[in-house]
C-alpha cells in the first residue's frame, strides 16, 4: 500500500492576536462582550472576538454613512477602482496566510481554501474593481447611483469568499458597508480589516462588526441602512424579509438549496462520479448550492453507485491543514447535531445508509461522507437542506420525470446535468427552475457569472454585471 505521510501546511504564517475588537471607522475598537472562536477540527480556542451590541452597530452605521457622504460616494469611480485593485493584490500577496486562517477557523481542507476560496476572493475584487469606473456601461442607465450604506450578513461556509461577494460589488458601485461575519468564523474578516488598513482604504468605507444573531438583527433593522444583503438559511432570510418589509431598504437574499444533480444514462460516468463527489462533499457539503440530491437514470444506477462508492472510499477525511485532506471538519457542534438528526431521520424513514470505512478524529466535529439510497421524494433527507456531507440518491426513468423531481422542492438555487448529448442539456436546463445550472460539471464559480436563486432560495443575483444591480439605485 502507498500511504501518504502527513503533509501539514504550517500555521506559523498566521499571527493571531488573543482578542479582537470591532472594526469601525478604520480602527479596531475594543468591546466588552468577548466570545471565544474555536478550531472545529480540534476544539482549540483560536482567539476571542467581540460581539457587537446595538450601540456598536449604530456607531458602525454612522461611520459608514459619514464615509459614504464625505469620501466614498463623491469619489470618482476610477479612484474607487484603485483601492479595490489594491485590496485584490493584497489578498493575493497574503493568500497563504488567509487560506491557513480560513481552514483553522472554518475546518475546511487547506486544499480548498488555497485552491478555491482564495483565488476566487482575489478574482472577485479584481473583477468588480474593473466595473467601478464603467458603471454607465453596465446596462442600468447612463448614470446609475449607489444606494448608500449596505448592511451585509454572511454565513460561515465560505467566510472570506462571501465577504468578497458582498463587499466588492458594494464598494465598486460606490456604497459603504457594515458587514457581520458569522459567529463561528469571524477571523478572516478581521484579517481582511487589516488589509483594508494596509490598503489605506478611507476610514468608514468598510466596517466589520462581529457577533451572533442579535448583532445581525440590530444591523439589518438599523434605520440608517439603505440596503440589506444576506446569505444564509431560508429561515433567517424570511425573518429579514419581514423585518425590512415596508422600509426603503433594498434587499437581496441568497438562501438554502436542495440541488438536483441529474445523471442521464449516456453521461460520461467517470467524470459524472467526480462531479457527484465534488457536488456534495466539497467543503463538507456546507454549500448552499450543493448537489445534495442525486437523480440517476435507473438503467445506469447500479454502475454509477458502484463507481461512486469506490470513489468515496478514496476520500481522505481528517486534519484540514493536511494538504492531502479532501474532507475536513464540520464547522460547529450545532451543525453536526443537525446533520446527525437528519441522517438519523433518513435511516428511520427506511432509506439505506452507507459510508466508506473511515477513521474520524476523536476531538472536534466530524461526520463521515454518507449516501442514502432507496430515497423517495417523501423522505426528509430528500426535502430538507442538510448542509453536510450527506447525499440522497433517487432514480428516474425518463427525462420528464427527472425534471419533475428536480423541480419538486421549495428551493431553486442550482442544478447539475450530466449527459454527452448537447440537445438534452439544453432541453433539461430550459425546464429546471434553478438559478444556476451546471452541465457536465458542478460547483464551478466565476466572478463574471451571476449566482442566485429561484423560489425559497432567495432573490437578487451576485456576481457578474447582474451583481451590480443590488447595489445601485435602479
Amino acid at each position: 500500500m502507498f500511504e501518504y505521510a502527513p503533509a501539514p501546511e504550517s500555521r506559523a504564517i498566521v499571527d493571531l492576536r488573543p482578542s479582537y475588537g470591532l472594526f469601525i471607522d478604520g480602527e479596531f475598537v475594543d468591546g466588552e462582550d468577548l466570545h471565544k472562536t474555536i478550531n472545529p477540527a480540534t476544539e482549540e480556542v483560536l482567539a476571542e472576538v467581540t460581539w457587537a451590541g446595538e450601540a456598536d452597530v449604530d456607531r458602525a452605521v454612522r461611520a459608514a454613512r459619514t464615509a459614504y457622504e464625505q469620501v466614498w460616494g463623491p469619489m470618482p469611480g476610477r479612484d474607487r477602482a484603485k483601492y479595490l485593485f489594491r485590496i485584490a493584490r493584497l489578498v493575493q500577496e497574503r493568500s497563504r496566510e488567509l487560506a491557513v486562517l480560513e481552514s483553522l477557523d472554518n475546518g475546511k481542507p487547506i486544499r480548498e481554501s488555497r485552491d478555491v476560496d482564495l483565488p476566487l476572493v482575489a478574482a472577485h475584487f479584481f473583477y468588480y474593481a474593473g466595473w467601478a469606473d464603467k458603471l454607465p456601461y453596465a446596462g442600468f442607465g447612463p448614470d446609475p447611483k449607489p444606494l448608500g450604506v449596505a448592511a451585509q450578513v454572511i454565513p460561515w461556509n465560505f467566510p472570506l469568499l462571501m465577504l468578497a461577494w458582498k463587499i466588492a460589488p458594494a464598494l465598486a458601485a460606490g456604497n459603504t458597508v457594515v458587514l457581520k461575519p458569522a459567529e463561528t468564523t469571524p477571523l478572516t474578516a478581521l484579517l481582511f480589516a487589516e488589509i483594508c488598513q494596509q490598503a489605506d482604504l478611507p476610514a468608514g468605507v468598510v466596517n466589520i462588526v462581529t457577533g451572533a444573531g442579535d448583532t445581525g438583527r440590530a444591523l439589518v433593522e438599523h434605520p440608517g441602512v439603505d440596503k440589506v444583503a444576506f446569505t444564509g438559511s431560508t429561515e433567517v432570510g424570511k425573518a429579514i424579509a419581514r423585518a425590512v418589509a415596508g422600509t426603503r431598504k433594498k434587499l437581496t437574499l441568497e438562501l438554502g438549496g436542495k440541488a438536483a444533480n441529474i445523471v442521464y444514462d449516456d453521461a460520461p460516468i467517470d467524470q459524472a462520479v467526480e462531479g457527484i463527489v465534488n457536488g456534495i462533499f466539497f467543503n463538507q457539503g456546507h454549500v448552499c448550492c450543493a448537489g445534495s440530491r442525486l437523480l440517476v437514470q435507473e438503467s445506469v444506477a447500479g454502475e454509477v453507485l458502484e463507481s461512486l462508492k469506490r470513489r468515496m472510499a478514496r476520500l481522505r477525511v481528517g486534519d484540514p491543514l493536511d494538504k492531502n485532506t479532501d474532507v475536513g471538519a464540520i464547522n460547529s457542534a450545532d451543525q453536526l447535531a443537525r446533520i446527525r438528526e437528519l441522517s438519523d431521520a433518513g435511516s428511520a424513514e427506511g432509506a439505506q445508509r452507507w459510508s466508506p470505512p473511515c477513521e474520524l478524529p476523536e476531538r472536534g466535529f466530524w461526520f463521515a461522507p454518507t449516501i442514502f439510497t432507496g430515497v423517495t421524494q417523501a423522505h426528509r433527507v430528500a426535502r430538507e437542506e442538510i448542509f453536510g456531507p450527506v447525499l440522497s440518491v433517487l432514480t428516474f426513468r425518463t427525462p420528464a420525470e427527472a425534471v419533475e423531481k428536480a423541480n419538486n422542492t421549495p428551493y431553486g438555487l442550482s442544478a447539475g446535468i450530466w449527459t454527452d448529448k448537447g440537445s438534452r442539456i439544453l432541453w433539461t436546463a430550459d425546464r429546471l427552475r434553478a438559478g444556476v445550472v451546471w452541465a457536465n460539471t458542478f460547483n464551478k464559480f466565476d466572478p463574471t457569472s451571476p449566482f442566485g436563486g429561484y423560489k425559497e432560495s432567495g432573490y437578487g443575483r451576485e456576481g457578474g454585471r447582474h451583481g451590480l444591480e443590488g447595489y445601485l439605485n435602479v
Binding site: P6, P268, D270, E274, G302, E303, E306, S307, D420
Partner: protein, 319 residues
C-alpha cells in the same frame, strides 16, 4: 460495464469475430468528458507526497522504470552500458533496487540479453516496425519473432493508428491477436500512440481494443511523436484497465511512456494509480514508466532523502 460483469464475461471474447460487434461495443463505452478528466488529473497532481511516502514512491518508481534507448545511433556498447545501469542504478548504494526492464530495438536485444541474464530485470523490445507501424503485417510479425528469439521477454508493439482512425477496428484487433501469437510466452505491451488518437474517447476505445485482443499491457506512446504520455490520458487508460478487470476478471498493466522526466512527475502518476485503480497496480508487474532521463532524477532525489544533501549530476552515471 461493471454492474453487468458476470453476464458480460462470456460475451467479450466473441467481440473480435465481427467488425460490427467490435464497433458496437467500442462506441457503446461511456464517453469521456475532456474538461472533467483533465480537472481530475490536475487535482490528483496537487497531492503532497513527503518524507516516508516519498521514499517509498521513489523506490517503487525505480522498480517500475523501463530504461529505454531507442536511437538510430544505439550500439552494442551503448546498450550494454544501459543494461549495466539497469542492474545497479546507483553504484554507490547497493540498497537501491534494480529497474523493471531495459527497452531497446530488436537488433540490440542480444547484447542486452547477455548482461541481464538471470538478473530478474526484464528485457523489452519495440517491434512491429516501431514507431510508425507502417509495414506489411508479415514484416511486423517477423520483427516480433526475431526479438523474442534473441531473448526479449516483453514486446512493445504499435497499433495500426491509420486503421484505427479509419474505423477499421477489426484490422487493428487482428494485428494485435497475430502479434500476441508471435510473442509466444513474451508479454505484449500494446502502444496506442495516444498523441495521434487525439481524443480521450479514442483513447478509451483503443485501450479496450488492445485488451480485448489480448494485450498484457497498454502503453501510451512511442515517444516519437510530439505529444507523449500525459496524466489525463493515463487516467483514462487506468479507468479502462479497472473496468476491464471488473468485466472479465483479467488484469492488464499500464505503461505511460515519453516525457516523464522528473521524480515529481513520476509521483503524480503513482498517486493517480493509487487513487484510480489502487494497490493491485502499484507493482512493476502492472505499472511501468517508459523513460530514460527519469531514472537519474529519481536517484538524485533518493540520495537527497537518505543523505540530506543534493549531490551534483556528476555523481550519477550517464549512459
Amino acid at each position: 460495464m461493471t454492474a453487468t460483469a458476470t453476464s458480460a464475461r462470456s460475451d467479450l471474447s466473441e467481440l473480435g469475430r465481427s467488425e460490427t460487434a467490435l464497433r458496437t461495443f467500442l462506441h457503446g463505452l461511456p464517453g469521456v468528458d475532456q474538461v472533467g478528466a483533465e480537472q481530475r488529473a490536475a487535482q490528483l497532481g496537487t497531492r503532497s507526497i513527503k518524507t516516508t511516502a516519498k521514499a517509498q514512491a521513489i523506490d517503487l518508481a525505480i522498480r517500475m522504470v523501463d530504461l529505454t534507448t531507442l536511437e538510430g545511433a544505439d550500439t552494442p556498447g551503448k546498450v550494454r552500458a544501459l543494461a549495466a545501469k539497469a542492474l545497479r542504478p546507483d553504484p554507490a548504494d547497493p540498497s537501491c533496487p534494480h529497474v523493471g526492464a531495459v527497452c531497446v530495438y530488436p537488433a540490440m536485444v542480444p547484447y542486452v540479453a547477455e548482461v541481464l541474464a538471470g538478473s530478474g530485470v526484464h528485457l523489452a523490445s519495440v517491434a512491429t516496425a516501431f514507431p510508425s507501424g507502417q509495414a506489411p503485417l508479415e514484416v511486423k510479425l517477423a520483427d516480433v519473432r526475431a526479438a523474442v528469439a534473441a531473448g526479449a521477454d516483453e514486446i512493445d508493439m504499435v497499433i495500426n493508428r491509420g486503421a484505427f482512425l479509419a474505423g477499421r477496428y477489426g484490422e487493428v484487433y487482428d494485428e494485435i491477436v497475430a502479434t500476441k501469437q508471435a510473442c509466444g510466452d513474451a508479454h505484449l505491451k500494446v502502444i496506442l500512440e495516444t498523441g495521434e488518437l487525439a481524443t480521450y474517447d479514442n483513447v478509451r476505445r483503443a485501450s479496450w481494443l488492445g485488451m480485448l485482443a489480448g494485450g498484457d499491457f497498454i502503453k501510451t506512446s512511442t515517444g516519437k511523436v510530439p505529444v507523449a504520455a500525459t496524466l489525463p490520458v493515463t487516467l483514462v487508460m487506468l479507468e479502462a484497465v479497472r473496468d476491464f478487470r471488473a468485466a472479465t476478471g483479467r488484469q492488464v498493466g499500464v505503461k505511460p511512456a515519453g516525457g516523464i522526466k522528473t521524480t515529481k512527475d513520476a509521483i503524480k502518476y503513482l498517486v493517480m494509480v493509487n487513487e484510480t485503480v489502487g494497490a493491485d497496480w502499484l507493482d512493476p508487474d502492472w505499472f511501468r514508466f517508459g523513460a530514460s532521463s527519469l531514472l537519474n532524477d529519481l536517484l538524485m532525489q533518493r540520495t537527497k532523502l537518505t543523505t540530506g544533501v543534493y549531490a551534483g549530476p556528476d555523481y550519477f552515471t550517464l549512459d
